[in-house]
Amino acid sequence: MIEPFNVYAARLLPSQELFAQGHRACQGCGPALALRYLLKALGPETIVANATGCMEIISSSWPETAWGVPWIHVAFENAAAVASGVEAGSKALRRKGRIPDKKPTVVAIAGDGGTFDIGLQALSGALERGHDFIYLCYDNEAYMNTGIQRSSGTPFGAATTTSPAGSKSFGQKTWKKDLAAIGVAHHIPYVATASIAYPFDFVEKVKKAAAVEGPALIHVFAPCPTGWRTPSNLTVRLARLAVQTGMFPLYEVENGKYHMSVDLPFLKPLDDYLKPQGRYRHLTKDVIAVLKKGIDQRYNEILEKCEANHE
C-alpha cells in the first residue's frame, strides 16, 4: 500500500486535466479537488453521471463546461440509476457491435445530500443489481449548494442553517450516517473512504475501484470553506486533521475485509480540528466531550474490524 506522499511525487500524477480549470467553485473548494484527482486517476475513457449539487452547478454553467469526458447531469436522486443505465447500455451496444469493444469506466458522482439522503434508494438498487460502476460520494457534510442545510452526513454538533446553534440548541443533534457500512452491507467487492488530503491514497483507491468487477463505492471527504466557515487556505489541512483526529478514518473494504489505509500513531487532540471552524465555534466543553467519546467509539470499532481481519 502506498503511503501519503510528499511533494516530490506530485508530478508523477498524469498531467492531463480532464476537469478543467476556470470553473465556478469557491476558493479552496475541496470537492473540486476531489473531482480533479478522480479524473486524473481514471483518464479519458470515462463516462460521468453527476447528480445535482455544487459540482454540477460550478462545472456546467452555460455555455461552458469544465468536463473533458462525456458527462450527464441528472436529478438529485438518480445518479446511481442513470449510471447503471449507462453501464448496461454500453454493454448492450458493445455486444451488438455498434461501438468498439472497449469498456469505459462509468462513474456516478453525488454529494453527501444526494447520496446519504435523497439518492440512497437508487444507490442501494444499483449496488444490489451489481452494475460495474464506481459511485463517488464527495462529502462536505451539508447541502452547501442551496445554503448550508443539514444532511444526514452532517456531524454531531455542527451548526448549519437548519440546525442552528443558539441558547436552545448546540447544532446538529444526530450522528453522521455511516455510508461505508451501508455499502459493505450490500456485499459489494470494493468500498473505501478517502480524503483529498491524501491524494495518492485517493488515486490508488479510485484505480482499484475501476479495476474490480462489479460496483465500487468511494466516500471521499472534501471540506467546504464556505459552509464550514473556515479560511479557504485551510481546506487540505482540515481534511488531514479530520483523518488524524479520528473524525474520518481512512479504510478500505475489499470483499468484506477491512484494511486501514493510514496507520495513526495516536489521535490528535480534537480541538485542533474544531477550533478553526466557524460551524463548531459555539461548542461547549461538555458537548465536545460527548463528540470525542462518540468519535473514539466509532474509530475503535473500525480499528477492531481491521485488526480482526489481520489475525
Binding site: 506522499f5 516530490y8 508523477l12 489541512r237 488524524q244
Partner: protein
C-alpha cells in the same frame, strides 16, 4: 506582434495521421504521449510523462511511415513531426508486441500486473526460458529519482544479462531520502515500502529512514533525510522543518 506569435505557433504545429485519421500536435512531443491523450490503447511499462522517454520495454511499438520508408519503432521516444503516418494496431505490430510480452514474461513470470496486461493481448505463457526475476529493468525508478526528485540515489550497473538497477555497489543506499517515488512508479511493483509510524523502510534499497516528529503536536510526518534534502534545496533554517506543515503557522 500577434502575427509573430501566430506564425510561431503555426511552425510548431504539425499535421500527421493516425490510423488514417488526420491530427494536429506540437512538434517534438512524444508520439506516445499524444496517442495516449487521444485515447489510443497502447501498452507501455517504461514510459512516464514526467521523465524523459527511455524506450526499454519495447511495448509501445507503432508503425511509422515517413516519406516512402515505413519502420516499426517505439513511440515513446519518437518525436512528433510533419507528415508522418502512424499505424497503431496492424497485424505486424500485434505480432511484435506478443513477442515482446513473451520476452518480458520470461524475465518476470510472476508479476500479476504484467500477466494481466499480457493477457489482454492474448499472451498467457512464454516459450522462452524463464529467468524468475522480479524487475524488468525499465529504469523508471532511476529516472524518477534523478529527474523528478533530484537525488540520484539509484543507477544501472553491469551490462547484458548481468545488468541490474539499484544503489551503488549493491550496498544499502546511503543517499535515498525515502520519498517513495520509485515505489509509486514501478510498473511491476517490485519495489516495496514498509511504513511504521516512526520508521519507513524502502525494502529493495535496504534503506531505513527514521521519521521526523513534529515539535508541537508530536506527530511523525516525514523522513528526516527528506527534510534535510528540502532544506538543502530551499535554504530555510532547520527550525522550519521541525514543525509539521499543519503546525507551522499555528499560534498557541
Amino acid at each position: 506582434m500577434t502575427a509573430d506569435i501566430a506564425t510561431q505557433a503555426q511552425q510548431e504545429t504539425v499535421t500527421f495521421t493516425v490510423n488514417g485519421k488526420t491530427m494536429q500536435g506540437r512538434r517534438g512531443d512524444s508520439l506516445l504521449k499524444v496517442l495516449l491523450h487521444e485515447g489510443y490503447d497502447i501498452p507501455h511499462l517504461c514510459y512516464h510523462e514526467a521523465v524523459t522517454a527511455y524506450g526499454s520495454c519495447r511495448l509501445c511499438l507503432v508503425e511509422v511511415k515517413k516519406g516512402r520508408k515505413t519502420k516499426v519503432t517505439t513511440s515513446c521516444n519518437y518525436p512528433l513531426m510533419d507528415g508522418i503516418e502512424v499505424t497503431t494496431n496492424s497485424e505486424k505490430i500485434r505480432k511484435h508486441r506478443k513477442v515482446v510480452f513473451e520476452l518480458l514474461l520470461a524475465q518476470v513470470p510472476n508479476s500479476p500486473e504484467l500477466q494481466s496486461m499480457a493477457a489482454q493481448y492474448g499472451v498467457t505463457d512464454t516459450r522462452f526460458e524463464k529467468k524468475y526475476q522480479d524487475c524488468i529493468l525499465c529504469g523508471l525508478c532511476e529516472r524518477v529519482c534523478r529527474e523528478v526528485v533530484g537525488v540520484n540515489a539509484l543507477g544501472f550497473m553491469g551490462r547484458g544479462v548481468e545488468k541490474d538497477v539499484g544503489a551503488p555497489f549493491k550496498q544499502p543506499s546511503k543517499t535515498c531520502i525515502g520519498c517513495g517515488a520509485c515505489v509509486y512508479v514501478c510498473p511491476v511493483n517490485c519495489i516495496k515500502e514498509e511504513q511504521l509510524p516512526t520508521k519507513r523502510t524502502i525494502v529493495r534499497w535496504e534503506r531505513n529512514l527514521p521519521m521526523q516528529t513534529c515539535k508541537r503536536c508530536g506527530y511523525p510526518f516525514a523522513p528526516t533525510y527528506q527534510l534535510l534534502q528540502m532544506q538543502k534545496q530551499t535554504g530555510l533554517p532547520w527550525e522550519f522543518f521541525e514543525l509539521c506543515p499543519d503546525c507551522r503557522d499555528v499560534k498557541d
